[in-house]
């Protein structure tokens, strides 16, 4: 029983990072209808920039954290302006493939600068475990969970009450109507890429503190699809819950398969098996908008 409790706790922590990355994905999809296959690579770039500033340049963690966020804003702006804007109005396959191309470019840049071996962040929090309900949990896990919860709260409030947030929701609902109400749709597109880059960088920094980082971190982006499909492609709440559920589910399924069938590595596909089932039963996910087609 304790084995499974530990798995659930681990799953929640990993799941909270999935949720963060899924949040970035959903923000982009909601505002611009672009499916971003480079989300995982944006996580990786953020993590490596923070690593370079903290370890290679010796800045204090908080300073490098803030500088990474600034860098992410610039990165998001550049990606939107240079790569995505020329493709407005192109067929969906072109948009998908341009983000796939972007992801290989980002990955190879990281490999060029930092190589492929694993890099470890200096510990920011003490490593003494805290006991919660009889299960030892590292403080960094709790920090990760709390931080992503906080970010979700901030963004929910931002979308609900702030002027910009409401403009973003309007753009998501109907671009033409938003434009005619005086909302700069292009600015909203740029802003959504910035937010997505910032959120994924934070996810990357948390992950770097937990496991260390290497050039395979980008594979995380592939785990985001099951999370967002489960939650619904255009729902923030869906992204949060979807990420957590997928995190827990893949950890528990992996543990179960290992214990009962001694089948290794089921973690890699568990989420995708779930994904196929959801797509068959309820393709718009738990909270997504159901698309109705009329002739």
């Amino acid at each position: 029983m304790e084995y499974y409790l530990q798995l659930i706790v681990n799953g929640l922590v990993v799941g909270s990072i999935y949720s963060l990355v899924a949040l970035g994905f959903v923000i982009i999809y909601k505002a611009t209808k672009v499916v971003n296959f480079a989300q995982g690579e944006m996580v990786m770039v953020g993590a490596y920039i923070c690593f370079a500033l903290t370890v290679q340049m010796g800045l204090p963690f908080l300073v490098s954290f803030l500088m990474t966020l600034v860098f992410s804003v610039i990165l998001g702006l550049c990606i939107e302006r240079v790569i995505l804007r020329p493709l407005i109005g192109e067929p969906i396959i072109s948009v998908i493939m341009v983000t796939v191309g972007l992801s290989t470019v980002l990955k190879s840049l990281v490999q060029l600068f930092w190589g492929t071996q694993i890099r470890v962040f200096p510990p920011v929090l003490p490593s003494e475990p805290i006991w919660v309900a009889g299960v030892p949990i590292a403080p960094i896990y709790i920090a990760a969970f709390v931080l992503s919860g906080l970010l979700f709260a901030v963004f929910s409030l931002f979308f609900k009450y702030s002027r910009t947030g409401i403009a973003m929701r309007a753009t998501a609902m109907d671009q033409q109507a938003a434009q005619s109400m005086g909302i700069g749709v292009k600015n909203i597109f740029a802003l959504s890429w910035c937010i997505a880059a910032v959120v994924s960088s934070i996810g990357g920094i948390i992950l770097g503190n937990i496991n260390g980082i290497n050039a395979q971190l980008g594979h995380l982006g592939l785990k985001v699809f099951p999370a967002v499909i489960l939650g619904g492609l255009d729902s923030l709440l869906g992204a949060a819950l979807g990420g957590l559920i997928i995190g827990v589910l893949e950890n528990v399924a992996d543990g179960f398969m290992q214990q009962v069938f001694s089948l290794p590595g089921f973690k890699e596909v568990a989420a995708y098996v779930v994904l196929v089932i959801i797509l068959m039963i309820r393709p718009y996910g738990l909270f997504g908008t159901r698309e109705i087609e009329r002739v």
Binding site: V100, T104, V105, S108, Y272
Partner: protein, 348 residues
């Protein structure tokens, strides 16, 4: 045709003819003769490049039929090629004749492709792309972990194909096999596109609701597209497996799917000629980069250390640049060049 300046079609049949002029027929014929003679004057290495191009052409026309013509995005073709490779390999190891194994590999892949194509009835665009991505990852997992059949991470060693007692154990002999199969696949796909089925595929891609309202059964035609496309992908896999004579699960990972999608985008979506251009371009790209790296090596001595990372990055960069500046691919550029020379001195 004589005496006219330009092409005038008076019937649908004349418009869908492969060769619009005698010159086209002649130049293609000469080119084919040149290709068939090429093993006699090219080096072994160059012939092996031709083999890789032939195999890539088969996979590319297959994917272009499904994605370019029928509009169903597939991120799973790398894995479908893997299914063909493993099935053909297992059959020849069990002593089947080569062509029977190749056909059976294609059929098994067609069934697998149709299975993963079933969601295409309800799913479109991005959802279908993600469903086929799931197919890719699940099949990759099966290749890696079904050790008793696929050999797992260690891989599977195969023999050179034996046809009528003759072993195709060198590049030149293999060339005639891959070239024959590639030519047959290109002809098959080009002909499918001229039939009722091909026109139905294009109608589904352009607007599925109008297609359905003129009486096209969406589900049946989409499944047909998946079946034909994965059949050819399986054939490409079987040939590739017996050409490299060793297969491991990493060969058929998501990068392969992305590479085939890149081929059809660089070549031109929905164009048979484009698939061939794309296959040539993407297969020769690493060679070209290798030459470039060697040349740059005299200025930056340790560039070869970064070569692998650079190669993937440049590949992605070329894909992005093509999508931004040449979204219709090389086939479109080829048409423009032809149109320019047709009216050469008097172009305006």
């Amino acid at each position: 045709m004589r005496g006219k300046c330009g092409l005038f079609h008076t019937s649908y049949a004349s418009e869908t003819r492969f060769f619009q002029s005698g010159f086209q027929k002649l130049s293609l014929g000469l080119f084919l003769v040149l290709l068939l003679c090429s093993p006699f004057f090219l080096s072994n290495y160059q012939v092996s490049m031709l083999n890789m191009i032939n195999i890539a052409v088969i996979g590319a026309v297959a994917l272009n039929l499904l994605t370019g013509c029928c509009g169903q995005i597939s991120l799973g073709h790398g894995a479908f090629i893997g299914v063909g490779a493993y099935t053909t390999g297992i059959c020849t190891l069990a002593g089947w004749p080569f062509f029977a194994a190749l056909l059976f590999g294609g059929l098994v892949t067609a069934v697998v492709g149709m299975l993963f194509g079933i969601p295409s009835l309800r799913l479109k665009g991005i959802y279908l792309a993600i469903a086929t991505l799931a197919a890719q990852l699940i099949l990759s997992y099966v290749f890696l972990h079904w050790t008793s059949v696929t050999g797992g991470a260690i891989g599977m060693g195969l023999d050179a194909p034996v046809i009528l007692g003759m072993s195709l154990d060198n590049d030149a002999k293999m060339f005639y096999l891959t070239f024959g199969v590639a030519a047959a696949s290109v002809l098959l796909v080009a002909n499918i596109l001229r039939t009722r089925h091909g026109r139905a595929f294009v109608a589904i891609r352009d607007f599925h609701q109008s297609a359905e309202s003129v009486g096209i059964n969406l589900f049946a035609y989409k499944l047909q597209a998946f079946a034909v496309s994965s059949f050819l992908a399986g054939i490409a896999g079987g040939l590739w497996a017996h050409y490299t004579m060793y297969i491991t699960p990493e060969q058929f990972d998501i990068m392969l799917s992305i590479q085939y999608l890149a081929i059809i985008i660089i070549g031109g979506l929905g164009s048979v000629l484009g698939s061939i251009f794309g296959a040539v371009f993407v297969t020769l790209l690493p060679e070209f980069l290798g030459v470039l790296a060697q040349w740059a090596g005299s200025f930056f001595p340790n560039i070869s250390m970064y070569f692998l990372a650079l190669r993937e990055g440049i590949f992605g960069l070329i894909l992005v640049l093509f999508l931004i500046f040449e979204p219709e691919g090389l086939a479109h550029r080829w048409r423009l060049i032809k149109a320019y020379w047709k009216l050469y001195p008097f172009a305006h």
